[in-house]
């Protein structure tokens, strides 16, 4: 088999804890009330096109894109619009949301809800991009960048490879893993659709080798296709990062401050490939996604297919309730996720998991002095010096932070994970990125 592929610089290997890896995807019942935030994607929030009292069906357009980098939002449930008001979402703030009181589960007539798999791709590349744009599909790995923008390379640039991200390097999370096992056929068709839209001849599906069942299953499925290759990758966090995956898969390096298209690559998550399949072949917009509910003391770690807008309390109830020794509830994985402040926070397009951490596990030790051990520098996958950048951000020396390329930080948290002095390096890095980003935007 030889040496497994991985990225060159830094990286860590935290305990995997994939507790829900053997739990098949369960479809959760439709909630009584759905809270659909208007800002679900990277970029501008969407604009609502419905008003209070309107009747909506599942899959009906309820909010339009509010700019170039923005997406449509479709109703995930059928019922009556209760109100359009501010409600708390994953950001920790009250933001505009469309709140729908659910009546029944009636789908829009144009959507094919049958289980039949359609493998023939009839649409032209332009039509595919149009469908993906209208279906409101965003990167489902968590960054929620509108997918159709990635499929339209800027003039002068052409895509050479499509890389499908099935790495799922975050500990605990298993939503992509289960999706590959249960919806592998659809993911392959989704990949072919994306290849057609981008006009590329070769696609890779990168999967870490801690998921041997998924690798075998997918390899079996692509036997008849020469142009799709399954790559088994060495377990290394943060391999799921776009730039790290490109390095691991095709051994190319994305230049600082540039997008993957610069080196002829487009990276899409397996969840996105599945959503693309459903949108193009079944005319089904993005109204549901797979969410992992997990944690060491959770009685039933599970993977749920849930509608967007379901409050996370319903997911936790379905996983046999909140354990007594809960310290923190994290939206996303333990490395990059963010603590949630309320159980009423809804599932959005970017929610990949809900991690319930025990008190002892979530405890943060007191910050000590930096002893210049350079562990953070050693593990940084972007080759940065986190100790220096965090100090610069802490002391408001944003000029220095910018010169030391703070904007290249992918916020993976590897530095903070290994810090023996328990310095909240990532917190300060995020602060620095925020401020430097503001300064750079003001300069323009």
């Amino acid at each position: 088999m030889g040496i497994l592929r991985t990225f060159a610089l830094g990286g860590i290997h935290p305990p995997e804890n994939k507790l829900s890896a053997n739990a098949p995807i369960e479809t959760l019942p439709v909630p009584k009330q759905a809270i659909v935030p208007l800002g679900q994607n990277l970029g501008a929030p969407s604009k609502p096109i419905v008003k209070k009292g309107d009747e909506v069906k599942v899959g009906q357009l309820i909010a339009e894109a509010g700019g170039f980098i923005s997406t449509n939002i479709h109703s995930p449930v059928s019922g009556k619009i209760f109100k359009i008001d501010n409600a708390i979402d994953g950001t920790g703030y009250k933001r505009p949301c469309i709140i729908i009181n659910v009546a029944d589960d009636v789908w829009d007539d144009t959507i094919d809800t049958s289980a039949e798999i359609v493998s023939e791709i009839k649409q032209s590349p332009e039509e595919i991009i149009d469908i993906i744009k209208n279906a409101g599909i965003v990167g489902l790995g968590g960054a929620t960048f509108p997918t159709y923008v990635k499929l339209m390379p800027p003039p002068g640039k052409t895509a050479e490879y499509l890389i499908i991200n099935g790495v799922e390097c975050e500990p605990y999370l298993t939503s992509d893993h289960r999706l590959m096992l249960e919806k592998g056929r659809e993911i392959i068709i989704g990949t072919r659709i994306l290849m057609k839209a981008l006009n590329v001849k070769k696609a890779f599906i990168g999967i870490e080798n801690n998921k041997p069942d998924a690798i075998n299953h997918m390899t079996e499925l692509v036997k008849s296709h020469d142009d799709i290759e399954i790559q088994s990758l060495k377990v290394q966090y943060p391999q799921g990062g776009e730039k790290q995956l490109i390095k691991a898969s095709v051994n190319r390096e994305v230049p600082s401050g540039k997008l993957p298209i610069e080196v002829g690559c487009v990276v899409q998550n397996v969840g996105t490939a599945f959503a693309v399949y459903e949108a193009v072949q079944k005319n089904k917009p993005l109204v549901e996604r797979v969410v992992t509910v997990t944690g060491k003391s959770v009685k039933k770690p599970s993977n749920f297919m849930v509608r967007i807008g379901t409050p996370i309390s319903e997911l936790i109830d379905a996983a046999d309730g909140l354990p007594e020794n809960t310290g923190k509830i994290i939206g996303g994985g333990p490395m990059m996720g963010k603590a949630i402040t309320s159980l009423e926070v809804p599932v959005v397009k970017g929610s990949s998991g809900i991690l319930i951490m025990e008190e002892g596990e979530s405890f943060r030790s007191t910050e000590g002095p930096c002893i210049r051990c350079s562990k953070c520098t050693y593990v940084c996958p972007m080759g940065l010096e986190p100790y220096l950048l965090s100090k610069a951000a802490k002391l408001s020396n944003f000029e220095m932070a910018e010169n030391e390329s703070i904007m290249d930080c992918i916020e993976c948290g590897s530095c903070q994970y290994g810090c023996p002095a328990a310095i909240p390096l990532l917190d300060y890095l995020r602060l620095g990125k925020l401020k430097v980003g503001q300064i750079m935007r003001n300069r323009k």
Partner: protein, 318 residues
């Protein structure tokens, strides 16, 4: 032997002389004229180099003052908040100008969401930085406009004038405040405002900046302004405005009559350094009416307030 010494001395001496002459002419040729008044003005300034005036240090302010006096004949827009009136009079005297006396200002923290008024619903663990916490979440008490209590303002103060009260978790400003405005810029939520110090340090202000409707505001904090307009009705001097469910008292118009303080159903309006008033029979608390929804949402920024004040002042003078 003697010869060598004489030669050496005369050679070096001659060389020095020639160089001195060259340097003398070069210095004359490239001489930069600098107004001696700049040094005088700098001498009169407090030398805090705080940047409160908007210039990088006292020297830059002195240069700007001299330039403005020469070109415009006034010192408009130049204000040393640290030195206050005395310094501006002194600078005016040096430059031969008359400077209007300005009211002394002080930084005011417009949040009273202490641990008892706005009890924590979540615990924050992370970097001790308000800017970071502001980007992360609404705050421990749940109010998305309230003080985060991590002390960015304290760090920014060069004058030891603002400190955290460990009991309430809120910053408190003492009399050392020079109104340089560093904390106003440091606060990511614009909670701190520069207001008139007032006679004998007496001040009245709305200690809340929550722009939510009454019910959600009150849910997170017992002393939030709910925009009920009671103070607006009781004010005879037109000093109170309500924008998006939030009352604001214009300190230029306010006469410190304290009527609004009594009227406020949530005790969001604070009076400072007043004598305790005579006890009065307590009125039964009426239910707060919904504020006028037609009021356009507009946030008055610090700059607007200041420019408005300057305008008002001019109008009064005229």
């Amino acid at each position: 032997m003697d010869n060598i010494i004489i030669i050496a001395i005369s050679a070096l001496g001659g060389l020095g002389l020639i160089m001195a002459i060259i340097l003398y002419f070069i210095a004359n040729k490239f001489k930069v004229f600098e107004d001696p008044k700049i040094d005088e003005v700098e001498e009169a300034l407090p030398s805090a180099n705080c940047g409160g005036c908007g210039f990088p240090g006292c020297r830059a302010y002195a240069e700007a003052a001299v330039k403005s006096a020469k070109e415009n004949g006034n010192l408009d827009g130049l204000n040393c908040p640290v030195g206050g009136n005395d310094v501006s009079q002194a600078v005016g005297k040096i430059l031969g100008l008359e400077v209007e006396a300005k009211d002394p200002m002080i930084a005011v923290v417009r949040c009273n969401g202490s641990r008892t008024n706005s009890p924590g619903k979540v615990n924050y663990e992370g970097a001790t930085s308000c800017s970071f916490a502001h980007a992360l979440y609404a705050g421990e008490g749940g109010c998305m406009h309230g003080c985060l209590g991590l002390g960015d303002c304290v760090d920014s103060c060069d004058f030891d004038a603002i400190h955290m009260n460990p009991e309430t978790g809120l910053p408190e400003v003492n009399t050392k405040c020079t109104a340089c405005g560093a904390c106003v810029t440091a606060c990511p939520r614009d909670i701190i405002e520069l207001r008139k110090r007032g006679p004998k340090d007496k001040r009245i202000f709305v200690s809340c900046i929550n722009q939510e409707k009454g019910a959600p505001a009150k849910k997170n904090c017992a002393v939030a302004c709910i925009g009920c307009s009671k103070c607006l009705k009781v004010c005879k001097f037109d000093a109170i405005t309500i924008t998006s469910f939030l009352a604001y008292i214009d300190f230029e118009k306010c006469t410190l009559c304290r009527k609004c303080v009594e009227e406020c159903p949530t005790s969001a309006i604070h009076e400072i350094n007043f004598k305790p008033r005579k006890p009065r029979p307590e009125k039964p608390k009426a239910k707060a009416p919904e504020a006028d929804k037609s009021v356009a949402r507009k946030t008055t920024t610090q700059k607007e307030v200041v420019t408005q004040d300057l305008k008002d002042e001019k109008d009064n003078k005229e």
